[in-house]
Amino acid sequence: MKVKEVHILMEKYFDGKTSLEEEKRLRDFFSNSAGELPNDLSAYKALFNRNYKNEGMILDEAFTANIWDEIVQNEPKTKVVSFNAVRWIFAAAASFILMLSVYQWYGIKQYEQFMAMHNEQEMTKEEALVATKQALAFVSLKLNEGCRPIKNVGSFYRFQNVIKKSKNEVISKDIIN
């Protein structure tokens, strides 16, 4: 191949217009012309003299699969959620109840605060102790008073049994007679 032809092909090559066969010819030219290159072309020797041994390499299956996995993993996870009416009702109910709870909780807190304020001013420890003792004593007393009639229930049952017995005797006597 003449140097002139090489120049034309080089120009085409850098314009990206060379065919595969033309590129092959260029490569052949550079690899075959060891020391006899003109100065202006010797700079390009390295470009066309690369090792093309691996050119035809085919990527194995695993590589492709790995790439695909990588892509799938990095894809943003978007689920299609159909927000139907039932869910809206659930959500509305939940938030309503939640709001009510908060409202009630707030009320209870305020009430407790109010009660605490009221009581701190009024009583000393000793007064409170006396009051507690009196309350306990009173409740205890009433509890015992209330239980007193229950003691009599036992004797009532015994009394009832006596009545039943005597009634049965009367009935059996009637039958005999």
């Binding site: 659930f90 939940a94 709870s101 909780w105 009660m115 409170a128 009173f138 008073e145 229950i150 229930v153």
Partner: protein
Amino acid sequence: MKLYQKILLISVCLFGALNLSAQHDQLLKFFDQFQGKEGFTTVYVTPKMFELFSDIETNDKDFNEVSEAISMLKGVRILVLDSVGSLTYNPIKLYNEVSSVAEKINYEELMVVKDGDTDVKFLIREQGKVIEEVLLLVGAAENFVFISLMGKIDLRKLSSLSKSMDIDGLDYLEELEKY
């Protein structure tokens, strides 16, 4: 279980729990509305006060007897309407009002005693098998008494108190066990 179902369940539970305490509050509000009114004596011994009791040192014989009973309490509320107050407020009406409110919420009747014109009612609030509150209501023509004992209460201990405190009253709760 899906997330929104979980949220709903949690909020229902929360609401239920708060609702119970709010109901309980109804009774306290009743108590509170008569605080400081003429004819009424109200006492509220707070849980805080019961914490302070633990470090009281006294030679009082009664106190040592009672301290065991006191240690099971967390709070005491007392409301007494005296004969002066009964001119303005009807004690029997108050008695009925409180007992109906208490029965509507989670209080159960323990016993009702009618003795002449005096009604005595014991109500308890239970958590599981443990009594959390004892409510005593006394209604008469000229008196109304409301006592609430809060805490983990052992009725037998409570009943045996009157013996140790030199108060008339016999220990019939022990008799109750036999039947």
